[in-house]
């Protein structure tokens, strides 16, 4: 996905969440019942046509944020505004009309998110039926259009999910998310089960669709190199809270939060990495004050006593730390992956034409073989 930094429009975000919280009640009865604060006080905005990357350790609450934004979970606290409407309490027809039609989700595992007994054509038609969009003929042509858009042959409509490769299945997941014409797609680790070459195809496809249709993405991932590659801005979570939001390049070159610095340092040579001590605490009993303090290399007394609030640190940047910017990267070592050298061939010059390269900017069309 290529974040074309110019196409982002700034007139009103497509989504705005303020003080969003999602708490789960865990086992036990009465007083002994524990509360797991999976998401606690998260505020973020996504602009039209923008990609916001969401990163953080396993269990930090990324998926829960996504599911709460699309209202698969009712929020425990806070508000969500989508396309200018407050959808925090929407339900029934309103929820379907205002939210589910214009915001969709692509799941991590394309194998388990598709019904194995349903032909792909039916799986794609389902959202149109749910939203009562079009008649049978219009739905059929919309399905064909979507398959075309994600670079699949229209004959795929007659196949079952098992008959597809992982990359093809993920394309179906994207087609399904796109079919109701959304303005925001929440992509939860959409390439985690794919290897780099298939990942590159999917990521390029998402980028092309963003340019063509002006889509916004909340892109949830563990993969820091990927998030840097594709995001306009990145939000960093730790133990249910937002640590920092910043433009992608700034986050990786000049992180302000110590946890962001840890993540950004993972891009560097081993000697320059900041590996935090210990392990992530249990979300059932988070540390007092700053949730990161038990692993923070620069924590001190104040960190245990006061919860640092998310504050604007520079235009477009916010950070929740009492000592922002103090833990610095060894910038001399801040590096991107170097380009591998050209190959040198020792044989005679080519005697047959090499395959035609795919023209830049086009969606590679993959039908029978991907």
């Amino acid at each position: 996905m290529n974040p074309d930094r110019r196409t982002v429009s700034h007139d009103g975000p497509v989504l705005r969440a303020s003080g969003l919280a999602k708490h789960f009640r865990m086992g036990g009865l009465g007083r002994s019942r524990k509360v797991l604060k999976a998401v606690d006080g998260v505020s973020l905005e996504i602009g039209r046509g923008e990609t916001l990357g969401l990163v953080g350790e396993s269990g930090s609450g990324k998926t829960t944020v996504g599911r709460t934004l699309i209202r698969l979970y009712p929020p425990t606290a806070g508000t969500v505004e989508f396309e200018g409407r407050d959808i925090t309490r929407s339900s029934g027809a309103r929820l379907r009309q205002d939210v589910r039609r214009r915001m969709s989700m692509v799941f991590q595992n394309p194998s388990t998110s598709l019904n194995p007994y349903m032909r792909l054509g039916e799986a794609l038609t389902e959202p149109l039926v749910v939203h009562r969009i079009g008649d049978a003929a219009q739905r059929r042509s919309r399905v064909a259009e979507m398959l075309e858009l994600v670079g699949l042959d229209t004959s795929m409509a007659d196949r079952y999910p098992q008959e597809l490769s992982g990359g093809q299945r993920q394309r179906i997941g994207i087609a399904r998310a796109l079919i109701t014409d959304p303005s925001l797609i929440i992509a939860d680790e959409p390439t985690a089960s794919l290897d780099v070459s298939v990942q590159a195809q999917i990521v390029n496809l998402l980028g092309d669709l963003q340019k063509e249709l002006g889509l916004a993405y909340l892109f949830i991932t563990h993969d820091l190199a990927l998030v840097r590659q594709i995001s306009h801005r990145v939000a960093v979570m730790y133990l249910g809270r937002l640590m920092e939001t910043a433009p992608a390049d700034a986050l990786f070159t000049e992180p302000l939060h110590p946890y962001s610095a840890v993540l950004a340092s993972m891009h560097q040579d081993r000697e320059h990495r900041i590996v935090p001590r210990g392990e992530i605490p249990s979300p059932m009993s988070p540390p007092s004050g700053c949730v990161f303090r038990t692993r923070c290399p620069i924590a001190r007394e104040q960190c245990a006593e006061q919860v640092p609030q998310l504050r604007e640190a520079a235009p477009g940047r916010s950070v929740a730390c009492h000592f922002p910017g103090e833990l610095k990267l060894d910038t001399a070592a801040a590096s991107v992956r170097p380009e591998p050298a050209e190959l040198t061939f020792t044989d005679v010059p080519p005697t047959t034409a090499p395959p035609r390269p795919v023209p830049a900017g086009s969606v590679p069309h993959t039908g029978e073989k991907e």
Binding site: N2, P3, R5, E57, S58, S165, G166, L194, D195, V196, S197, V198, Q199, A200, Q201, V203, N204, H222, L224, A225, L226, R228, Q229, I230, A248, D249, V262, L263, M266, H267, R270, R273, V275, P276, E279, I280, V336, R337, P338, E339, P340, A341, L343, T344, F345, T346, D347, V348, P350, T351, T352, P354, P355, P357, V358, A360, G361, P364, K369, E370
Partner: protein, 337 residues
């Protein structure tokens, strides 16, 4: 015991499996070797045969798998091992660490019991107490705080990162000479991943354990591997010292793989490799990568699917005939190590 420094050598190894759709060739003519004390990474896309190669070394392939060629561990052919010898080989000489630490441990047995059993399987002369002491020492060695308490814990009581350390400790109590790791950090967080890789490197350096690691994560490879073996469609595409291979690949597949990875030019389009690898059911003539290779010429259709040394580049081998043509005759197939 052996006349070579190689602790592991695969020589023209093929693995075939009969399936309803025909014979699946999971490995095709795979040769590479690992010197004592090295960390070697097997890299390649999903389905390229990395796990199959590791499983073949431990004789853990699915029943019915047909193995051709030879696999030598410590100079000894492992094909004839049976019964007690095979068990001793698996519990003592070569140990495996899998991707998913939750599957490697018995959920109902305490961690102490599992570590002690592992130690005594490797060395039956060890007393229970001695084995338990060793287990505690190894937990401390892999960085588990308060090992005494942890020995009494059950797998569900510890985090994924700690569990992977425990699985590594379970392999270490056997003091194996060869540690095979299949995607040991894929299921873990970035920060935990860094901790585990540091641990593997430390064990390699301090205890001299040879590590063979299968992974498709290029960052992991760049981090810790001394040498890199790049696999494609059940075959070896190229091998060599990690830094050299990553900076100056000698096979078009390696170069495409490196270029497809994100992180090179933020904000730009990724360079996908068009098409997909051949299935194990396909009969491959010539270079397995030819159908997707932008450098393909007519000689590629008849290329022997094997790596040969690259002239003037000690330690490097490539299967691309366009790279190696004229540098070494493909018949010079004895490995220099």
């Amino acid at each position: 015991m052996s006349d070579t420094p190689d602790i592991l050598r695969l020589d023209r190894v093929g693995v075939g499996l009969r399936t309803p759709g025909g014979t699946a060739d999971l490995l095709r003519n795979v040769s590479f070797s690992v010197a004592r004390g090295e960390i070697v990474a097997l890299a390649g896309e999903s389905g390229s045969g990395k796990s199959t190669a590791l499983l073949a070394v431990l004789r853990l392939l699915a029943p019915g798998a047909q193995v051709s060629g030879s696999i030598l561990v410590d100079g000894k052919d492992i094909a004839p091992l049976r019964g007690r010898e095979l068990r001793a080989f698996r519990s003592r000489t070569a140990r495996m660490v899998f991707q998913d630490p939750w599957r490697a441990l018995h959920p109902m047995h305490s961690i102490g019991r599992q570590l002690t059993e592992s130690a005594r399987a490797a060395d039956p002369t060890l007393s229970k107490e001695a084995a338990r002491t060793l287990a505690g020492d190894m937990l401390a060695r892999v960085g588990i705080p308060d090992p005494g308490t942890r020995l009494r814990s059950y797998p569900h009581e510890v985090s994924g990162g700690q569990l992977q350390r425990i699985v590594i400790a379970m392999a270490l109590v056997a003091s194996p000479s060869l540690l095979l790791c299949d995607e040991p950090t894929t299921a873990l967080d970035v920060t935990t991943q860094a901790q585990i890789l540091e641990l593997l490197q430390e064990l390699n350096r301090d205890l001299g354990i040879t590590v063979v690691l299968a992974t498709h994560d290029l960052d992991v490879i760049a981090d810790i591997a001394d040498r890199l073996v790049v696999m494609y469609a059940g075959s070896v595409a190229e091998e060599g010292p990690t830094g050299q291979v990553m900076a100056r690949p000698e096979h078009p597949y390696t170069r495409s793989l490196l270029q497809a990875a994100p992180g090179r030019r933020p904000g730009e389009r990724l360079r996908a490799i068009a098409g997909r690898p051949p299935s194990p059911l396909e009969v491959i003539e010539g270079c397995p990568f030819a159908a997707r290779c932008e450098h393909r010429t007519s000689i590629c259709a008849t290329a022997p699917n094997t790596t040969v040394p690259i002239a003037g580049e000690p330690g490097r081998r490539s299967a691309c005939v366009r790279v190696t043509a004229g540098t070494a005759p493909p018949s010079a197939e004895r490995r220099s190590g």
